[in-house]
């Protein structure tokens, strides 16, 4: 039996597969650089990515204003799910490397969120690079800043977690010219919306006489009128991303904002939480009650604690023994021996009868 158990355990152990990192991804999030989840794996399961990584800034970056940054990943073959995790960072140390630590704000990531780490699936190959756009708000203090692009991915053969990081890409953040037409520093773009609903966006501008919005619809760019600093983007029929940008004109040089992305998505799953909690309590009470209701019948409980039979049988045995012990031997025809008392006969009568049988008396 033991041998069979040992063999079974060995088979189970041998049937396990070696898996590195998180092959299905870890989800978009605000993350420091990590090692693709394989920090504690052996060095043989880690590798350095061959990807060529690049970050492209716009020619002019003003302090506190929105900019569009392009990231590029090329010369890389990945695992069969074609997924790469990429992160914007401010150093390569793996600590205190979030863009927010240097004053950057991720306004819209390539997936429509506000994370510095995103996972994208695309046709990654050694031949064609994959580009993605990020909308960032530049640090509020002028100066020289740098960003890194880090990636993590699998390999076509599997089993190895690859990670890589670019060289630092520096950018000079300049003081905002006084009369520069621009969006207000407090204004935040809308990133998501539901299907089938129009989206009205209110612009907050500074030093701006007129604004024009361009909406990218496929490869076509459509101009949308702006009335009272408001414009409306038509409803989306299917989940997807539309991009728009605003051209601001005023006394200063005309400014074009980065492309803002609005992701149309299926309405999120929702539930009436009150109904859910009430139903939970109802199920709890009902199940407990139904089980307790199945309590044993009184007879069963009595049976568990009733030892009458045992007592009766024990007492009966004792009584029998006592009665047997108390039974006097039969008195012979000649009566009890002369000089014996009745009590003596009860105790020693047997011996006297045996002597009579043996003919000794």
């Amino acid at each position: 039996m033991r041998l069979k158990v040992v063999i079974l355990l060995c088979i189970l152990l041998l049937s396990t597969t070696v898996s590195t990192a998180n092959p299905g991804g870890k989800g978009d999030d605000v993350r420091s650089r990590d090692c693709a989840g394989s920090c504690h794996a052996s060095s043989s399961s880690n590798g350095v990515s061959t990807a060529t990584l690049n970050i492209i800034f716009p020619p002019e970056v003003y302090a506190g204003l929105l900019i569009e940054v392009q990231t590029s990943i090329g010369s890389v073959d990945v695992s069969s799910n074609n997924m790469v995790g990429m992160a914007l960072l401010i150093n390569s140390d793996g600590a205190k490397d979030l863009p927010a630590n240097a004053g950057w704000e991720i306004v819209t990531d390539p997936n429509g969120g506000m994370n510095n780490y995103v996972e994208i699936s695309d046709s990654f190959s050694s031949q064609s690079p994959v580009n993605r756009s990020w909308t960032l708000r530049a640090p509020s203090e002028p100066g020289n800043y740098g960003l890194y692009l880090a990636v993590q991915h699998g390999t076509p053969e599997g089993g190895v977690a690859m990670s890589g990081i670019s060289e630092i890409k520096s950018v000079q953040v300049e003081e905002v010219p006084e009369n520069l037409p621009r969006l207000s520093p407090d204004w935040e773009p809308t990133n998501t919306r539901g299907l089938g609903e129009e989206t009205t966006i209110i612009l907050e501008t500074m030093n701006t006489d007129s604004a024009t919005v361009e909406l990218m619809n496929g490869a076509e760019v459509v101009v949308i009128p702006v009335v009272d600093n408001q414009f409306t983007i038509p409803a989306a029929v299917n989940p997807g991303i539309v991009q728009w940008r605003v051209i601001l004109e005023g006394e200063g040089p005309t400014q074009t904002s980065p492309w803002f992305r609005i992701t149309a998505q299926e309405p999120a799953w929702g539930v009436d939480e009150t109904a859910l909690y009430l139903q939970s309590v109802a199920l709890f009470l009902l199940c407990a009650g139904l089980v307790i209701m199945q309590r044993p019948k009184n007879e069963d409980i009595m049976k568990n604690y009733d030892n009458t039979e045992h007592v009766v049988s024990t007492v009966g045995t004792i009584q029998d023994t006592v009665s047997e012990e108390a039974q006097s031997p039969p008195i012979p025809a000649g009566g009890i021996p002369e000089g014996w008392t009745t009590e003596q006969w009860e105790y020693y009568g047997h011996e006297h009868l045996e002597k009579i049988e043996r003919g000794e008396v």
Binding site: V271, L276, Y277, V281, D300, Y305
Partner: protein, 169 residues
């Protein structure tokens, strides 16, 4: 500061470990095999798991991303864990009232354990996207209307009260 996620892992391990032990002991009770202590182990482990369950539920809600219950898996986890806790309390009270650990009693105990393990399996799917519960319709949530839940609550309280009165008499 320990995050709710870490607390949830700890409390979940406690709950599931003790429920699993209880399930094995109830199985032995059902087939009438194993050591004499199986009945005590089954009920004490069930009690231990039950004590850790509220902590697991509360830390789980706090650890889930987003606001509130925005995923059918979370809703089903809530319903299943509360159902399991109800069955477990019923089993413990029934035993306290002197019920024999027969096939029915052990079966209800195992059902409670099974529901709690299913809850844990759903948690695995929610956090890692992987589960062994391939054929369980986890994405379907059956929510009663409010009035039905209230009726069931009243019914449950009535049953519990009636049982308590009968037991006392």
């Amino acid at each position: 500061m320990i995050s709710a996620g870490t607390i949830h892992v700890i409390s979940t391990e406690l709950t599931i470990g003790m429920f699993a032990l209880s399930g094995v002991a109830f199985l032995l009770c059902m087939i009438q095999k194993g050591p004499e202590s199986r009945e005590a182990v089954a009920h004490w482990a069930l009690l231990g798991g039950l004590i850790a369950t509220p902590l697991a539920i509360i830390s789980g809600i706090n650890a889930s991303p987003g606001d509130g219950i925005d995923n059918p898996l979370l809703a089903n986890k809530m319903l299943l864990s509360m159902t399991s806790a109800g069955l477990a309390i019923g089993v413990l009270v029934r035993r306290k009232m002197g019920a024999a650990v027969d096939t029915r009693h052990a079966g209800i105990g195992m059902a409670s354990v099974g529901l709690m393990l299913t809850t844990a399996g759903m948690g695995g799917e929610f956090s890692r996207g992987e589960t062994l519960l391939l054929f369980v319709p986890k994405e379907t949530v059956m929510i009663f209307p409010l009035w039905a839940s209230i009726v069931l609550i009243i019914l449950g309280i009535a049953i519990l009260s009636k049982s308590a009165i009968e037991h006392r008499s």
